[in-house]
Symmetry: C2
Subunit: 371 residues, 2 copies
């Protein structure tokens, strides 16, 4: 399947949660499949921390660059593009195409850098709603996402209930725990104390806080995979015996440093800061005094909530909080707790039971005429 990135520019100011009006911004997006005549078969895919609008397929000019959820989305796949019109959109504040700290502020002509505002999950959903307006899609057959993407799906169901028929909330949580916030804050400190960060205006200094971003990614990565999976994959394996040095000795050290360094080459530090903050801030029940059921009251979508047994970043217990709140409000919800060893990252993997649940939910929804 070939994918073609597109860019939509918006000049109607977007009010952000932080109080800033974003006056002029672009959203990068891709679509797969064909919008039907009734414009009723659209599925919006929301992305997590380091992904983008490039959800599925490959680019003609870069055949190896496959979308991040290509095992889930495509012809005949669980999210079947022979049947659905799938939209991937890049979040504001990202560094992969939509307006963000690494892009130029149209008002000044300079790279936004530290000046780019802090954005929230609600801001993303609002901006994506405008993209749907542009595409002439009034109501989504489904909105879906994993991790931070799942939080966006949940927010869609609350904030635009009339526009969402089905919401698939995968490996998510109703908010971040103190420990989740703690990990994010350590990562941010690693970035912000890197002298190459220059208060976020590193582009003006023609540098990048690579070391800080490497450490940040290493921390994040530990939380994405399960303890058991890490043990099975690396254990106490050594690369070349004990060296009594601070160089890469254990396989796990080598793996983590590689992941961190690779990430620091392509990811923007200011984006990382903003995405982790959006996660920290995410708390739909803040407006209802902590009552999640009440926060979910406006939702009219049918829900699929999926969690993974070994996910210790957003554990099944956190997904069950969402399920319980939905049930308390008598909302239609299907819950699947998938037995997978991979930890949080399981939501990105091709797991037959997991993919079967998503396929069945979307197929059943279509068959039952809920579209």
């Amino acid at each position: 399947m070939l994918a073609t990135p597109q860019l939509a520019r918006f000049t109607e100011p977007l009010p952000l949660a932080c109080g800033t009006l974003l006056r002029d911004y672009e959203l990068a997006y891709e679509t797969y499949g064909t919008l039907n005549a009734a414009r009723s078969n659209a599925i919006l895919v929301c992305h997590a921390l380091n992904a983008s609008h490039h959800v599925a397929g490959e680019y003609a000019e870069a055949p190896g660059n496959t979308g991040w959820w290509d095992n889930m989305v495509g012809p005949g796949k669980p999210v079947d593009t022979d049947r659905f019109f799938v939209i991937g959109v890049n979040n504001l504040g990202s560094c992969f195409g939509s307006s963000g700290p690494a892009s130029r502020n149209p008002a000044t002509g300079r790279v936004w850098g530290a000046e780019f505002p802090l954005v929230t999950v609600e801001d993303w959903v609002d901006s994506h709603a405008r993209l749907l307006d542009r595409l002439g899609i009034d109501r989504l057959h489904a909105v879906m996402g994993g991790s931070l993407g799942g939080m966006q799906a949940l927010t869609w169901a609350i904030r635009y209930p009339q526009r969402v028929a089905h919401a698939l909330v995968i490996a998510a949580a109703p908010n971040l725990s103190a420990q989740n916030i703690a990990f994010n804050e350590v990562a941010r400190q690693a970035i912000m104390t890197d002298p190459a960060f220059h208060g976020g205006n590193f582009a003006a200094h023609a540098t990048k806080p690579r070391d800080g971003l490497t450490v940040a990614r290493m921390i994040g990565h530990i939380t994405y995979i399960s303890d058991d999976q890490m043990e099975a994959k690396f254990g106490r394996g050594l690369r070349e015996g004990l060296k009594f040095s601070f160089d890469r000795e254990f396989e796990i050290e080598s793996y983590l440093r590689y992941q961190g360094e690779k990430f620091s080459e392509y990811y923007d530090a200011n984006t990382y800061l903003r995405v982790t903050k959006a996660l920290d801030y995410y708390d739909p029940a803040r407006a209802t005094g902590g009552d999640l059921a009440r926060a979910l009251a406006p939702a009219t979508a049918r829900f699929l909530i999926v969690s993974f047994t070994t996910d210790w970043r957003f554990s099944p217990a956190r997904s069950r909080e969402i399920v319980k709140a939905l049930l308390a409000g008598k909302k239609p919800v299907t819950y699947a707790e998938i037995d997978a060893p991979h930890g949080h990252d399981a939501f990105l993997l091709d797991h037959p039971q997991y993919h079967g649940v998503v396929r069945a939910f979307l197929a059943g929804a279509a068959a039952a005429g809920h579209a």
Copy 2:
């Protein structure tokens, strides 16, 4: 109880696991209680990452400076100094009194810095055995410690079986998991990529890698307390409402930064690197092809193994590996899994059941004449 730090200098070279001969070194230590005429009532207390020989009591000149295990060790306390002669000793490589990277190399007169060798748990135990020689103590009534201190106690029982009657191994593990090593490596990277680290020779540049050490401590701290405890203590509490800034917003951010910054003022970065490496290397079963029971075969001590239910750094499952290996070798072992909410740090806290177990084990041992 008043404590008096003492310093013992050793000029007989100590062969280290890394291959270096440490020719001239000092060990800082303290003692509490009185050695009996038979010299049979000594208990050696081994310390963990950021502690020292100052186990109990206060210094006359600094009344607020109480030993790190003062709730455990003292007159009438579980480790009763009215009955036992307790020794606290600072590990080689530390920054609190024994020879380490922050002290001067007698051969050059300059601060050791990066030149101080990497030390192992076995090296520590060997050096502490020499201190016992110096004190005229042939056999310990008990050796005890929590976390890395527990690993030293286990090593004592294996390496000097004839010198240890009882070993108390608390909140420890038979080795570090891949995830444990991963956290240590991230912390080390944070330190080593701080430009103020200067390859470990920061003293020569009259600076300190404070930022790196702060991040390292923040990471460590997350692993010392349980998710639930962090949630109960901080949750999603905000200091002054949402600010949409990268300053300290959530209580947990504020707490962690405070802990990190405080640590970075008094702890030595080179020590941190070496202590985490000693942890990573620790693996008594390496010599027996992974067979812990065989590694423990030489031990003749009676064992008390203690774990804490919410400890996710060294979980009860890791302590049970030690217990199983001891049982496989038909060694006398008592195991207590303490229901405590505090995570790994529980070993430092005054928990009645935990302290009761330690008291009973030592009292029973004395009553049964196992001393």
